[in-house]
Amino acid sequence: MQVSSHDFKARADKALHDPNLRQALSAMEKGFVSKRQAAVRDLPEFDALRDRAVEIKNHVLENLDHYLERFETQVLAQGGKVHWCASPKEARETILALLRTVEARTCTKGKSMIAEEIALNPFLAANGIEPVETDLGEYIIQLADEPPSHIIGPAVHKTKDQISDLFLEHHQKYGRTARQTDPQALVNEAREILRQKYIDADAGITGANFLIAETGSTVIVTNEGNGDLTQMLPRMHIVIASLEKIVPTIEDACTILRVLARSATGQEFSAYTTFSTGPKREADLDGPAAFHVVLLDNGRSAMIGTELQEALRCIRCGACMNHCPVYQAVGGHAYGWVYPGPIGAVLDPHFVGLEEARHLPSASTFCGRCEQVCPMRIPLPKIMRYWRQQAFERKLAPPPERMAVQLWAWLVRRPALYHFATRIAAYLLGRFGAERGYFRRLPLAGGWTRGRDMPAPSGRTFHDLWRTSGRGRGEAE
């Protein structure tokens, strides 16, 4: 997809003034946050499982070369093939060449963030192959010609009314001329249209939540069953996955599966977890005749051994964005690339360049909720801080911003001067603001006061209050 992360500020501003987006995002607290909470409460072992899941992924990353080779051996032994691709371009061309071998005209697709990462759809369309998204959310945004705004709910930014309009506009060619407004009727309409697409498709492309070194299996987790119809009805099943999806054994996958759905949607388990191993067997009555795994690196191998390594544990559950106050306010599109939210702020600078994505790690108050809910315990704020440091060292911010940071750093390294200066500032602000109780405008802070008033401080600094209240000396109140 087109990268527009550099435009984060303008896009975030636009998002904040979009009433449809505000309406759509307001459902997230109930839809994701409370459900996750309830699921976690129902499983006393949840935190212990997280620890185990982290250990598994850390072990995998230390031995990734071996596990990948072992995975390939097993896929081959089961009649499939693994295609190693260092770059998005190699992956796109590999997939196109595979599709050409079956003279594909259409291919169905299960949800895959890697397909988004390599911008597969426009490439296939430009080469005369129609990609059909089958996950309902992906299908909706394909009709709208938009990128996903959330990694598990790609159309979470759309209201029901917007979807009604989209279906009316795009389904007329199938003879559907009534505007449906009931969610059930909308789902039924998409179901009926897509059912024929599965049957007509020449190949099916899915992503993978796990690749299993023990057996050469690929695993997908869905609720709709679209990934299954995508892979079982056409002649060819192509799996596209990035290399950190490996786990050693089925048992290891089971451990991570126990934290995946609970963190993502708050379900105990997603409706469909499918282990696919090789093509259909000789006497099978259904299943694809050919099975290919396209394994993408795209710079991940270079993340190992760096500050970014821990981000490779990510299982793409979306909990970090569901719980992020910034994401909840601006939605996913503001981030301007495939991965939004805290995990996007961590990954996107690596994939699209820090120059392009430098605003994303700054779009955080470091409240820490993302790290708190991350099932894989990825230190997201720490990695964002690393990127901010990098941005400063590489002189990516405009001079006034850099000067302000330098000035601040100079000041806070001199405690006596810092206390003196803040005491004066607090006194002045307290004095001038006492009457009204707030400030409409402040010098040098126009951007901040444009959207809100600044409450007037009491006139004394926190340090002073702390000292006089006695708490600084460890005494009880």
Partner: protein, 232 residues
């Protein structure tokens, strides 16, 4: 040769700061793969078998799965016919060509009509066996093969699963352990069929304004006929 494979493995090893693993280190990893063991499993399902069956039923209800519990195989035709009638569904269905289902005395309900084989687009009802079921989350474990085409699990609107209660286990790991035994798995990891489907409730989506709707692409209804046998 400098294939993408070599470049990726080379880059990985540079990042890891080492060469290819030594024979000894590889052997340790291979031993882990040859003898997979369960990690931490929740206490929830660590119950006597009767308790696991109860847990399965309780968890099934939470995810919109209906369960009809019957004493033996001979009651399956009646249970299937009753379910179809109560939902105003046709009495025709497609069934897995599976010996366990074949041994059911279907002639007891002469109105039931069925064909064996993989699912066809017009099929409204599918009847399949389950290899195992996991009490922990009421998850059905379906194993593909010539006698169990996977299309039957996904294409018909209504999916009826005939499950023997002795096939209920506590955890996913126990289900896979049974699979390894059933398929005489050695230590080479080559025991998996084309697909193992873990099915936990009917198809669902919340992609329209986070409203939960059943029957997105797979079955709208999932009904389990739970057969108690003398073994359970």
């Amino acid at each position: 040769m400098s294939s993408a494979r070599d470049r990726i493995l080379g880059s990985l090893r540079r990042s890891l700061g080492r060469e290819e693993l030594s024979g000894e280190a590889k052997a340790a990893l291979e031993a882990r793969l040859a003898h997979p063991t369960a990690n931490l499993t929740p206490a929830r399902s660590q119950l006597p078998h009767a308790g696991q069956v109860e847990l399965f039923i309780r968890m099934a209800e939470r995810i919109d799965v209906t369960v009809a519990r019957i004493p033996g195989r001979d009651e399956v035709p009646g249970a299937v016919a009753d379910y179809l009638a109560s939902h105003n569904l046709p009495t025709e269905f497609r069934m897995s060509p599976d010996p366990f289902l074949d041994a059911i005395p279907w002639e007891r309900r002469p109105l039931l009509k069925f064909a064996r084989g993989r699912a066809e687009p017009a099929d409204l009802v599918g009847v399949t066996p389950a290899f195992a079921a996991v009490a922990e989350t009421a998850t059905l474990m379906m194993v593909s093969g010539p006698e169990r085409p996977a299309t039957l699990n996904f294409m018909p609107d209504t999916h009826i699963v005939v499950l023997e209660s002795r096939a209920i286990v506590g955890t996913y790991e126990e289900g896979f352990a049974r699979l390894r035994t059933a398929r005489n798995a050695g230590t080479d990891g080559r025991y998996m069929p084309r697909t193992v489907n873990l099915i936990t409730g009917p198809s669902r989506t919340a992609d329209i304004a986070l409203t939960l709707i059943l029957g997105a692409h797979g079955p709208r209804r999932l009904h389990v006929v739970l057969v108690d046998g003398e073994e359970s």
